[in-house]
Point group: C4
Chain length 491, copies 4
């Protein structure tokens, strides 16, 4: 028998909370997003808020069958009003007047459009990073400390930038890396990325925290299209084994174990965007439960005790190549080689975890000379991500020795702004830039790229200028260009 | 017999000046704040101005009993009008609309709120620093030249960041350092910090120049709460001995002798905020008495002749561990070790003394390798303060070898903006960040932190860019993102 | 018989396209500017758009005679309306009020005026550069990392900065380098530069992509005036041989083969300025033909297979000195020496090709010590261009070992703003600065310049500061200068 | 017989030009300020424009008696109208409301006030520098790359910063360096500086290009006050000998020969401020006579052929200590030692001559280790100037080995804003800062200062950041502090 909305509404507190006819009471402290958001919607229809954040199979997967109270008669449920964000009308106006897709000439352009047309909370979730967001910005900035030493007079009539990652051929040396909550940006979510990746013969890494279900994303695959699985390791290793084996069975060709997130980072831009004055802040000094709650919760979904000792077990449960995602120092790369995995992703999680973690490109430049010196650079794939926006950025990484480069947010922004067309154009722009830049540095194929084509000496320098001299700069009277002449007086 | 206000008013000049029925005439040239401020209030009720700046026991402590003329019949005194600051109404409006405490996500947020809601002069006193305030800003900026080299795949399920300072256990590797004039920010003054420190099991250093009396601050202590004494050394060593012995008797567990202030620094922001056109500026060229006066005055309150030769005497009068606060070069750290003290604070006084003094973090990075090389890093506590705002800042110092980190202004700002709740939340935020960041750099306890976890090579670089090229930057036409399309004309 | 406009208009599509009575159908995919622009004007009078971009002999030169359909009766052609740019009236107003020429004191001033008075698309074409325009700006910025170590007490009453390039005497160590499409800036195009160069006895390099025909530019030469030819190498070597031999026959005294442009760079500022909503963007995701088309097209006009193996052939077809323009690394300079050419231009094409290519001045500083060490610096001319705006910039290059410095955009801007007078004044200003600066560094002739007169140690440093700390800089309250006093109230 | 104005007016052209009854026709091409300004006033009363720029004895000194046509009957002369600068009323308003002198806390404050209250052309003359004004700003900026390594626990009760320069005692390690045209800033001109210097026992260097006559400035001297002479060497060595011997006879105790100005620099800010549309710009392209004229003119007033060979002659004509002012590289310092002079001023003329000359402080840091190594640092005075604004700046130079520091513009600004009172306060502020900073770096006397007290490793680094990434910085959404809450709606 379908439950009535009023029955559900009776259970809207932390003692007994039903959501969509599930009893999530025991689950509350384990919710990775904190219990606040569940309580907010408890006893009401949470579909609208739930959807972009969770795949359809989430509750069935993580809640015991005993917690399923049965279907609810939706007609009896108090409708959750659309958020009456006063800015929403303006956003729709901006959306209507967004630039034509053909006016987007580079990956930044998609970000600019996405910032204008996305809902504020979605933008905040995608764009935010840890603490002062230094690492997020350093990621792109570090690439500016690498300059080219191009060769001239090389026959570059035919340029081929296809390459091989984990043994799979792909059309370009970049891949779609895993990012969470695709439905925040587009109602169809990650499958949009799958389709675009297919059009361009680009590899996609499927995220654990996708909005679409894993199977939906795999179902969207066509032909020989290559997909990998990104994995957050659950404390319950049975859950983990089930996920990994299912992915392998469904044809995933690489397992990327995230190792830089024993706890999810604090992202203040995101927190600030979510803040609403719920009236519960009377005892403001006590109001730090949230973060403690989240910290505890994570310990079941993402196992903070994961360690090098677990690596052999992973090798035992799958034949997929294993790559450690989020390695950040050469010592750990060497350890990964010793542990027998097939590769690493030098990544700081897009700056979303540890602020002041170094950029992937810097760790790459630290790593490759050591690997080369020890003869370990062959047969071990070193990927890198974070801050890559131009084909020239990607080429710098390849010159320094990377196998491939992950692109995350830019494709999300392109998807959020223009859907699948947007993602495809973003990929095409990267390819156009890639072809041109390969020619301009004098390389006809990826195999021609080598460290002598870049000057990366400045990469390791972390400097900042002495503080601005407020008085001195106030009193300085800057030079000006010649002024226009005044309008001639009429006679 | 109570004096009449009119009797007091007769003595309002530098020849004979009574304040609140004290004869401070002889004291005038010794007043650390300059004689101008005393003369301003002479013959009137100075309570309102006196209170935030001096503990209640000040006059009794520093003026001979013979100067006490007796109580004044307050009804006969011309009331000092509240400052009719035209901005005060706006400030109250800002105060009423300050953000909720739960909207503060980091230590900067408290500073932002404090700046809006504090009285202008109080803000100026707290926020100002020496000369061009370069060192104050360099303090935080220098931390940005240190980047992490985090370890992954370490079991960090349980993270413990408690530690030991001068033999005392505490819950976190930071302490409340000494800052003056707490009542400028909060009517209750330093005891607010004491109570918050107690809630969080954090050590407090009691300032010589507190607004609350020393005993009030000690009385606010509970249980095993640890307090230290910060000491400005008076020229009269009997006064100094009395203060030190009293502190020890009252249970203080560390003596921090300030060595970076033989003269108090010039803080122009503070000076400018205090400026009022008193009509006495007719002979403007002669108007430099103020600073000369202050310089002379200091010589009795803070002894500029204090030297290494005095250290043995301090060791003779107390059993408390002795720490030299304000050491700024490795040579002096080595000398401190030789002098047999228990530690140093590498500090530049929050940038309030010598501008272009280097940051504490830089001096730390200069110091620790030398101490380690000579085997002197064990059993000698090296503290550091100045510019620390994030747990990641603190962790950088600990990685480089610091025992603990002093936090000053941020807690004052939190107190000024939100009282004890504010300070507690500030501490909790630091702890939340600390737990997260310990996990993310792969360390389960303070003992795991070591120099290999940071890249501090850039720390010693003091550079600034070539001057801005005004003409070149004027004529450059920067790239833009795609524009919105014009509104479609109505049909 | 003259064709009628209506007959021409019938062929306005990609299947059959006549322009001005040429059948350009087969030529469409080869058009270096893409086929879109031809189709836009097909069947209409394209003269107004065609003129600034192509010399009058273009169609005869590149289209087979069979494609010439005969003259069109212009009276029967639909006139292409003047672009009704809404900003055009404002531009004319700005033009009318531009500063007097005598108010221009340096080369930036011309750029400032040109930016105000040029048509938007022309400005965009001249001022744009590749990708993020980093290299374009780095070109000038790099010069700011070189500082002088001047000598004093040297007799500099007479200063002589004339010099010799490729064996030809000239009055100053700079030359007019090749830049395309001069008629975008001035209706007479490149001959304006020729006349100004003659006035100042400065060498001019004639561009392949000039708006004026090659012969017109040569015809404008007077007396012993020296001209060089800049060459894009056509895939059809017969065309190339014809062009080179013609230039030699007409008296050109140097052949500069462009080697940094196997494909023309993407210049987004230019693309954005050209964008018009043509209504054809329905399938926006497919809209990347443009760039693919351009890429293919270039392969006939600028041969991307050009390589070191072609150099001997060039030496076989001409007696002119051969210089490779666009060399960007010392290894290739050495190879050029081995290949027997007479010099190189260290250039990145004004930042218009590969973004993050290093500046010419940096490559110069990398190159000359190696040449000197091997004794190869005599009899081999090393030119440099990119970002030079001041005589001091030029002197830095000469101190480091350059033979001469190419100036491109500044003369275009001077021409666009003030015609021949503008270019002459620009040259005179450079000479005035040159005389003064030679005196001030203590050198009476170009032969006295040497590396010891500059400190170029910073030149190789590519750094950027740690990201801006948004929160910290928001909460910092900067120092201010003393405020004005309020207006005294009236009595 | 007095000439009538109309007679004078008849000679107002370059063929025959009388000014104030002088025939300056032959002199025209030699006028250091160019002939334009003379012609502008020819035949009219030039007193108002002439006065601030020339001492009263100028015409008698430089024009042969034969050119003196006699006094003019001023009543018959067309009065030169006061400049009807539309901004003048606003300037007077700003002057009336300038801050009180006691609100100036540092040397920048005087500059801020001067900028507001000075006439535009006067401000432009004082504040301008060569070309892009890079060196002028680098001068101060370079000091920011030197940081202190202060000593603590040193007895600094008594601080003595008096010192000795060229054998003369003075109260502080700075002096008033020579600057031209004092009457532009104050109607009394340089004697104001003389009086202030006397009050503070500070040495003054008298400029060749003073507005006051040399004798007036010497006459303003009192008691043992020390003055030096700054000398531009005239091509006519008899004139030079006469000037030097006169200075020695009048008691000058040092001869500072300017060696960095074989030609006066181009100062575009000054040129732009002077520009008036005189209607003579019809043939704008030919309008470069000005600079050529100036260049030629200089050759008589400032001898560009002055060289090391002239030094012995100077030693032969005077017993004053000789110092070369404007030396800019260690090689030339060594040569000065060899030449037997008593010292050098490491100076770039306040950035007014060669742009991209290095700062004095940098040349000092390059020089002193070499002098010390060769034992040449004793008995040879090394002065430095350029960009010094704080006592801490001066102390950095002294630590690095300077004998004394010249201060120029700041005293001019103080004089322009507040007259003698201003200059005295400026000097007192420097002394107050000096006393404090000596204490804070732990030095009781100038003799205690040494290189170990500073970290100057960054001084030689000339870097600039990679260009601003316009797109990336546009799309980045910066973190914000918590917003104020909205005003509560009324009930």
């Amino acid at each position: 028998m379908a439950l009535k909305g009023s029955q559900v509404a009776e259970h809207a507190d932390a003692e007994s909370c039903w959501g969509k006819a599930y009893d999530v009471t025991e689950f509350l402290p384990d919710h990775p997003g904190g219990q606040g958001v569940i309580l907010k919607y408890a006893g009401r229809d949470a579909t609208r808020a739930f959807d972009p954040v969770h795949p359809p199979d989430t509750l069935g997967k993580y809640l015991d069958a005993s917690k399923h109270l049965g279907p609810v008669d939706m007609a009896t449920v108090a409708a959750e009003a659309g958020e009456d964000d006063p800015d929403e009308a303006e956003r729709r106006e901006r959306l209507a007047r967004r630039p034509l897709l053909s006016q987007c000439y580079n990956l930044f352009d998609f970000e600019a459009v996405a910032r204008r047309v996305m809902k504020r909370a979605a933008w905040a979730y995608y764009s935010s990073a840890a603490d002062d967001e230094m690492t997020m910005r350093e990621n792109h900035g570090a690439l500016h400390r690498v300059w080219f030493r191009p060769r001239v007079l090389v026959d570059v009539e035919k340029v081929d930038f296809s390459t091989t990652m984990l043994g799979a051929k792909c059309s370009a040396p970049f891949y779609v890396t895993a990012t969470a909550l695709g439905k925040l940006g587009h109602p169809e979510g990650e499958v949009v990325l799958t389709r675009a990746a297919r059009s361009h013969d680009v590899i996609q890494m499927i995220p654990t925290l996708a909005s679409c279900s894993f199977d939906d994303i795999v179902d969207a695959r066509r032909g020989g299209q290559v997909q990998w699985l990104q994995l957050y390791v659950n404390k319950d290793r049975d859950v983990t084994r089930r996920i990994v084996r299912h992915a392998e069975a469904r044809g995933c060709r690489g397992l990327f174990i995230t190792v830089d997130a024993p706890q999810l980072g604090r992202r203040e831009k995101d927190m600030r965007s979510k803040f609403t004055d719920g009236g519960s802040h009377v005892q403001a000094g006590q109001d730090t439960d949230t973060s403690q709650g989240a910290a505890r919760a994570i310990s079941s979904f993402i196992d903070p005790s994961l360690s090098w000792a677990d690596v052999p077990w992973f090798r035992s449960i799958t034949a997929m190549p294993i790559v450690l995602k989020g390695v950040q120092r050469v010592e750990d790369v060497l350890r990964a080689v010793d542990a027998g995995v097939q590769g690493v992703v030098l990544s700081n999680h897009g700056g979303r975890q540890l602020d002041f973690a170094r950029s992937g490109i810097e760790v790459l430049a630290e790593t490759m000379p050591v690997l080369r010196e020890r003869g370990l650079d062959r047969g071990f794939d070193v990927f890198v991500d974070g801050g890559f926006r131009r084909a020239s950025d990607i080429l710098k990484a390849l010159c320094l020795g990377a196998t491939g480069v992950g692109i995350g947010r830019p494709f999300l922004y392109a998807m959020s702004a223009y859907g699948q067309d947007g993602v495809e154009r973003a990929m095409q722009l990267l390819k156009d830039e890639m072809e041109m830049n390969m020619r301009l540095i004098g390389c006809a194929s990826v195999g021609d790229l080598h460290p002598g084509l870049v000057d990366a000496r400045g990469l390791f320098v972390h400097s900042n200028p002495t503080p601005v001299d407020a008085l001195s700069s106030t009193v300085y009277d800057p030079l000006v260009v010649p002024p226009q002449r005044p309008k001639a007086a009429k006679l």
